[in-house]
Structures are given as C-alpha cells and as structure tokens.
C-alpha cells in the first residue's frame, strides 16, 4: 500500500484568545509569538497511515505545500516514521485558497507516482475550510470518503480492497473501496498521534527532504502564486462577545447548588 499523506503547517490553534491578533489588512492572523505546528487532523491522518502500514506494509510519503518553515512539519512526520518527505515550496500568497492548494497537492501526487491512498486531515485548525481532500479527489478523478477514522486493507495488488470506517451525524458507516482513493481523516481515541522517539527526531534531522518548485510540478505557477482564483478573504474580524457570568450565590454548597438547579429549571421551562 503506497500512501501519500498531505500535511499542513498552521499557526498554533491553542494560543489564548487574548494573544490572537489580526493583521492591518484584515485578511489574516498575525503570527506574533505563536508557534507553527502541524494541523492536528493531519497528525491524526499520519497516525492512521502509520497503523495501516504496521498491519499491511507499504510506504508513506509525507507531502506539504508551504513556506520553508513547513520543513519542520515534514521532519516531525519523518520522526514519526513516515518513509519519505516532499515539500512543494510556496513562494506566493501566504494563504492560498482551497482550490489552489488542492491543485498543487494533486500535481505533486501525480509527480510522486504510484499511490493507492491519498490522505488529508478533515479540516485545518486555522481556516478550517475542510475542502482539500474533496478537491484533490476531483483534480485526480478519484473517489473520496470523508470523516474517516479507521482503515483496513485486505488482498494484494489488483485484488486490494479497503474497508473504511467513517463517522456520521449519529454513528458510523463502513465503506468498501477499491484503491486508489482519497480519504479525509477525523480524530478518534485510536488515532491520537504518537510522540516521536528522541532518537528518531535526531535521525529525521539528517534525512533528505525532496523540494519542488511550482514550475517543477507542472501547475500554472502564476495563478497558484496569486492564490485567489477560487475565493478571496475580503474581511477578517474578531467578534465582540462579553457576557458577565453570574456565579450562583449561597453560604453552603447545598444552597449554591439549589440556586444552580433553580436557574437550570427556569431556563429549560422558558424554552
């Protein structure tokens, strides 16, 4: 099973609200002192891929489209034991729209070659558009299954068949699929990303990362650099929200909880 896993480096979504700032052009967040991290769903996807490889063998190629800094995301993927890493360097718009990203990743997938499974996270922790997987599938003419949390492979070569479990609004569905296909991965208790071993981190620092320019993957580089042919962010604002919390009063715990219960009943009866 040859797996290509798409990884996105993002502004640390855990930064507190009070440290979150928007740039003067009102188009994107200011990095400030925040770290850059790998999007969590991308790491869930990598973990899912690693577990699949442990069961069925194969090769995992980590793929990112981003600035030079995205090398850190790929090094971490190598430390988690992805086999190879490819970075398509983005020297254009810092936040290209989802179609631009999908075009680039699809072109890179084609250039990497033999691939049974393309995996992405279900959405990113920054812009969260949740479109990359679906659009890559369309660019490559492949089927796509979203919100997947587990994959089993059975059979080999042309008889290979995948059993894909995905989350739905009220439970789950099991799908049978013939590779190649695209899946987007969501989190569950079994794909919490592993912590790389110190030794593997040290090894990963010396592993080669293939780097491609936009010209090398055969996309319309000018359009990709502009990055806004699909949609454009025209405004970004921090919503005003200030609610004063009334803490329930009472001299004893019992009185406090009594008051809490009364508030709860008041609200539920008013609905």
């Amino acid at each position: 099973m040859n797996i290509i896993i798409c990884l996105k480096q993002i502004l640390d979504p855990e930064i507190p609200v009070r440290d979150f700032r928007i740039g003067p052009d009102k188009r994107e967040a200011v990095r400030g002192n925040a770290n850059l991290v790998t999007n969590i769903f991308c790491e869930n996807a990598l973990e899912t891929a690693l577990q699949l490889r442990e069961r069925t063998g194969g090769k995992i190629t980590a793929l990112a489209f981003g600035a030079e800094s995205a090398e850190d995301t790929l090094r971490k993927a190598l430390a988690m034991k992805a086999d190879e890493a490819v970075l398509v360097l983005n020297d254009g718009h810092p936040h290209p729209d989802p179609f631009t990203v999908a075009q680039v990743l699809a072109a890179a997938v084609r250039k990497i070659g033999a691939c049974d499974l393309v995996m992405t996270g279900r959405e990113s922790g920054d812009w969260g558009s949740g479109q990359t997987g679906g659009l890559i599938a369309e660019e490559l003419g492949l089927p796509c299954i979203s919100f997947v949390d587990h994959i089993e492979a059975r059979g080999e070569g042309t008889d290979a068949s995948l059993f894909v479990k995905r989350q739905t609004d009220n439970g789950w569905e099991l799908l049978n699929a013939q590779p190649p296909l695209v899946v987007t991965i969501t989190n569950n208790e079994f794909n919490v990303p592993r912590i790389p071993k110190t030794r593997d981190i040290m090894i990963s620092a010396r592993q080669p990362i293939t780097k491609w320019t936009l010209e090398e993957i055969g996309v319309n580089a000018a359009e990709v650099r502009a990055g806004q042919s699909y949609y454009e962010v025209v405004d970004l604002a921090i919503p005003a929200k200030d609610v004063a919390c009334q803490f329930v009063s009472g001299d004893t715990l019992e009185q406090k909880v009594e008051n809490l219960a009364q508030r709860v009943i008041e609200v539920t009866r008013s609905l």
Binding site: V164, T168, D169, Y231, E232
Partner: protein
Amino acid sequence: MNDVAICLFAESGYDRAAQGVIGAGRRLAGTLGGRLHAITIGTHNPELNVRIAAVADSVISADQVELAEYQPELCLDALAQLCGELAPKAVLLSNDTYSQELAPRLAHKLGGSAVGDGIELIAQDGAIRVKRSVYGGKAVATIELKRSPAVIWLRARAFEADSAGSASVATVRQTRLNLPSGDRTRIIERKAESTGEARLEDARVIISGGRGLGGPEAFKDLQELAGLVGAQVAASRAACDSGWYPPSWQVGQTGKKVAPGLYLAVAIRGASQHMAGISDAKVIAAINIDPDAPIFKHCQFGIVEDYKKVIPLLREKLAALQK
C-alpha cells in the same frame, strides 16, 4: 442566471436544519431576483416535498432506487447532473455529514467555488459573500466566492426558517437520472449510536462533559442528570479523544455545531475551539473548579466547584424541583 438551488437529503426530513436552508434560499433568491429550486435526494419523503413546495418555486425529487440510501459517488453524480441543468448562481446545502462531504466536490464538478459552515450570506454587486467562523472561533471571515455557482453548506440552524412562503404551491417533479454503476466506493454497513432520542443539533438542552471529568464513568452521572431535564449528553474533543464518549457526540469546531436553548458545560475549560461549536447556544452555563476557566467568559451563570460534589446534589435538587 440568478436562481438559487437548495439540495436536501430526504432521509433527514423536514427538520430545523432543512427549514434553515429553505429560509436562507428563499431570502437569497429574493435578493438576487431569481427563482428558488429545491432538489431532494433519496427515497420518497412526501412530507418533505410538500413542505418545500409551499416555499420553493420548483421541487425536483431524485427518488430512485440507486439513491434510496446515501452513496457518496452516486449522490454526487446526481447532484452534479441536477444542478448542472438548473445552472443556478448559488447552491445551498445543510451541515450534515453528507452535505459537508459533497459540497467542495460538487463545486468542482460545476466549475464553481465552495465554502462551508456559512453563518451569513451576503449578495452584493453580483458577488456572493459568506461569513464563517475561522481560527477556531477566534475570528469571523468574510469570503467572496469567485466562481459560479457558489456552493455553500450552511450552519443551517443559524438561519431563520421562511415565514412568508410562496404565492403558489410548486409542483414536485420526479426525475429519473442515469447514474453510473460499478462504484469504487460503497457503504456496506451503517450504525446509529443512540445515546438519546434527539439529534444533538436539535437538542433543546445539552449537558456536556470535558477533560476534567477524568474518565468515562462520570458520563453516566451526566446521563442521569440529562434524563431529569430532557437533555442530550455531549462531550468535548478531549473527552472523545480519551475514549470516554463516542465521537459522534463531540461538540466543538471539529465536532457538532449545536444551538440548544441551554448548554451546561461540566468540567470543560472552554477553549475557543470548543466554544466555536456552541456559539449559537442561547444560554451557556458551567460547572468548573477553576474560576479562571475561559468557559466562564461565555456563561450567563455558573458555579465554581468540583463537579463531583455538585452533580449528586444537583440531581437531587432538579428531581425535587421537577416534581
């Protein structure tokens, strides 16, 4: 063309989300000066089609055996054919799993642009703009779609239902589509995990547990509590990731976006990613041991105590008050 098409899966029925999508579609069509077409996919659901016919200008029901149950590739093909014929300026979908899954692919097939989790639609100078929550709920972006049609899945319950209705009742047209066979993906098993009666998105009251609960046992206590006030139990991502509660009941930026009348957060700190899932809740209340937990910044009322001490007492008091 300034028409608007709404796409609904018949199996979801005429729920609050469907009403939100229909209402949003009716108003957008009005602003654009176009017609409102409704497409329903799936086994015959007379009530849904009749209700929609009272609001839309035309209803197309793709009701055939291949579409009786959702299959990603077949439903995508069906929607692409039907939307392609209508050539609308905008295509609106709800926020169920299937709509989220198909929206970007449908946009690609139609040569349009997609955006998801829309909370407001703006038609201005011929362009369609969508407001959506980004950066884990820390900011709201306005996004202009550059290609037509604009394919948008909505945070459906954030939109008002239509109140006016249409002047005349539209006829429901049944279609028979030519759909490809031999799909490369096929759903072979479906399982609903029922932890309550209503869908989380439709719940009037939600009691939700977080990392601070420390284990799956406390969710049983929350369920008992929920039973007393007709609430649904939900969980934060941390709790679901720990395997304490099924992930289909996860609330937050990456789980369900809910809009209950009351959301009671138990031992949930309230990171912005969690709050992004409950921004449409009418009243938020919290039980948390930490007075500085960010959740209290969003609460109308709350109690600073160890949930372990509060829950048994609260159960007792609620039971007494409900009598």
